[in-house]
Symmetry: C2
Subunit: 212 residues, 2 copies
């Protein structure tokens, strides 16, 4: 039977995984808002970032309290300190969803996404949500193979990121669109990086080895 202390430790990890769901959904909504020029949905993503931040501070406080009160042994301490790093990555990914939503809002009622780039942006949004969802699964299951799968998803994101720069040039888009798409591409790419970073930390907890 687990004692109250280990239950709290598990509960922190489950809340971290839950947080990846919120952040993944935020990025999906931000992508839809961007593609559909949906001001209301963009505003919803912007408004809800505050609740992601509140969860972040709660998890941070609980992990810190547990370290301070329980003087955990090495492996539990490593889990708690690592969870402090993971929560910061996930919160930052949430900020990036917020940034995508802000781009959608800024150009309203115009669209930042030329028709010929819609599918690339859609794919970036889908890979972003998928990689964050898998990141949550990695936290829940501590599945090292799944964590490695995220590296391949991240390669797909990098490929999309390169493609989008090519499209900006090939389509000879206007400068405002070029700025928006360059920023948005960067937001998706960083979002995926944060998911990978969290997955790597889980691998580190399981194997004791830091991925390069």
């Amino acid at each position: 039977m687990r004692d109250a202390y280990h239950e709290e430790l598990d509960s922190i990890l489950m809340d971290l995984a839950e947080m990846t769901n919120s952040v993944g959904s935020a990025m999906a909504s931000a992508t839809t808002a961007l593609l559909d020029v949906d001001l209301e949905l963009a505003q919803k993503v912007i408004d809800e970032d505050g609740s992601i931040d509140r969860v972040y501070h709660q998890i941070e406080m609980r992990a810190f309290d547990l370290i301070a009160r329980q003087q955990p042994v090495a492996s539990d301490l490593r889990t708690l300190v690592t969870s402090l790093r993971m929560v910061a990555d996930i919160e930052r990914a949430g900020d990036l969803a917020l940034h995508v939503a802000k781009v959608a809002r800024r150009r309203y009622p115009l669209s930042s996404v030329p028709p010929a780039m819609r599918s690339t942006i859609l794919e970036m949004g889908q890979v972003a949500q998928l990689i964050m969802t898998k990141c949550g699964d990695v936290i829940r299951t501590r599945d090292v193979d799944l964590a490695h799968e995220l590296e391949r998803d991240d390669d797909a994101m990098d490929e999309l990121h390169r493609r989008i720069f090519g499209q900006i040039l090939d389509l000879n888009v206007g400068l405002e669109v070029a700025i928006d798409i360059t920023l948005v591409g960067r937001y998706y790419e960083r979002f995926a990086d944060h998911a990978v970073s969290v997955a790597r930390r889980v691998v580190y907890l399981v194997t004791g080895e830091l991925a390069s």
Copy 2:
């Protein structure tokens, strides 16, 4: 007299401050490389990022060891856990200097910076170095007033960031330049954000209050 444990704690903070110097210098060199189309200097910044990463891992390991071995009391524990967060911010700022250097290298022998934008990029590089230098001073002195000064420097960076988007449009630059400058502008702006974030953590250590 300080015991060995508190000496190690101080030493970690001093090494953090030292790391801000390396990172600030890296951004200054990257800016020069970008403005002067200096491939050798760009390569130097890229090569030296590895040593910043090594210092990062060393500081991380030492802070972690100290938590694990010494079961520190609340305030020391807070300092150590916070130093783990600070070192991650400073390392990430180093990555952003690396990214600026990579833009310089990618376009070589062409320049990414149109003559009319040189002074803005130069100012962004200068504010970046100054804010990171002050960040090191805040770590060393725990001077809360100085920490607040960084917020104003960050406002200046945000103003430069806005100016650069205006210049992209007003100068009607080419799309490759628009992409490069949009990315570089973002790198400087994030670099300053990381310095501010570190300074806020110091304020938190001193006052127990998290800045919004």
